[in-house]
């Protein structure tokens, strides 16, 4: 950063009000994202809380406050990835059955449960690309930023993921 740069305008108020505002606007969407990634509500809640707490702690180090949403979205994805990795066996210690399990069928319906189960059979990055596109409806650039990859990677990953998903669902018929 050029040392001669003029002082940039900073958002008034301290970190906690800025982070709280962001939370109010986006926590529901992010919890839903986390829910379809990890499958159960309490884990989704934890992941989102952690992501915002992390944002708060790093607030002063954020180069660009406008990137706060991207940061917290990436943090949610990372948190979900870690949560899934920690579960060596699926459904081992669950607060609730994941949304793609047989038990959850009553809640979301069999067809949808089948699709979600297929989604969870995909590699993590493919699942993320699909969810960010078809659920969060983010642009390719936004998906690339959230996943920390190039737009080209997003394109190819999404296309591969859809093919794979289609094959899994096709096999089920």
């Amino acid at each position: 950063m050029n040392a001669e740069a003029v002082v940039t305008e900073r958002a008034p108020g301290d970190a906690s009000s800025a982070v709280t505002d962001l939370y109010r606007g986006h926590a529901l969407g992010l919890m839903r994202l986390a829910l379809v990634m990890v499958g159960d509500r309490p884990t989704a809640e934890d992941v989102v809380q952690e992501a915002f707490t992390g944002l708060y702690r790093r607030w002063s180090r954020l180069d660009d406050r406008d990137k706060a949403l991207t940061y917290v979205r990436s943090a949610v994805l990372n948190g979900c990835r870690n949560a899934l990795r920690r579960r060596r066996r699926p459904f081992r210690v669950q607060h609730e059955p994941p949304v793609w399990s047989a038990e959850a069928a009553a809640l979301v319906g069999e067809e949808r449960r089948e699709v979600l189960a297929a989604l969870h059979a995909l590699p993590a990055r493919q699942r993320e690309a699909l969810v960010l596109r078809y659920y969060c409806e983010l642009s390719e650039a936004e998906i690339a930023a959230a996943m920390g990859v190039s737009r080209g990677t997003v394109k190819s990953t999404t296309s591969r993921a859809l093919d794979a998903l289609g094959r899994i669902l096709g096999e089920g018929q």
Binding site: M1, A3, V108, L116, Y134
Partner: protein, 182 residues
């Protein structure tokens, strides 16, 4: 949209839809540190500089650093003068070459929001202005030559401020580096 995409979109919407606004808990943020210690540290730094004292570079974890808006951290890089007690200064003012070299390096440190060069006389004027109303202190201590020439930087974070510290402590012409308001 073909069937797979449609099925996916609907399934995700249904799953996510099981959560509503009522399910979002309140955000609980970790408690903030109080600012009183910061004020004391900054005041102590100012006084110690006037007294031409020892190195005041705070370690990474030791003292909370005063920031203005958000996480901004002020760093003062004080240059050698004839009266500097730092042996590295060799009782000489920093040369123009040394100042240019310091400026060149500082401009390359990542995270600099603002940088200005403050001469001895300018610094003294500012000091007098800051201390207005504290008669006893002014009369008994600082004279114009006591506050050295310095580069005043505003860094975006404590981490960035530490970079200034690490990169410049031994540099020719640098007497002291102080974190926080000067």
């Amino acid at each position: 949209m073909n069937t797979t995409e449609q099925r996916l979109t609907e399934a995700l919407k249904a799953a996510g839809g099981t959560l509503g606004p009522q399910d979002v808990p309140d955000l609980v943020l970790p408690a903030r540190r109080r600012s009183a210690p910061m004020m004391l540290a900054a005041a102590a730094a100012t006084l110690a500089v006037i007294a031409g004292g020892t190195l005041l570079a705070f370690g990474r974890e030791s003292v909370p650093v005063l920031g203005s808006a958000g996480g901004d951290v002020r760093v003062s890089v004080f240059l050698c003068t004839k009266t500097s007690s730092n042996p590295a200064c060799d009782k000489k003012d920093a040369t123009q070459e040394e100042k240019d070299e310091i400026k060149k390096y500082l401009m390359r440190v990542p995270g600099v929001r603002k940088m200005e060069y403050v001469s001895k006389s300018e610094a003294y004027l500012r000091f007098r202005k800051d201390m207005e109303g504290e008669k006893g202190f002014l009369e008994s201590s600082a004279k114009s030559g006591d506050i050295p020439d310095s580069f005043q930087l505003t860094m975006v974070s404590k981490v960035a401020a530490n970079r200034v510290l690490e990169g410049n402590l031994g540099r020719p012409g640098v007497d002291q580096i102080v974190m926080g308001r000067s």
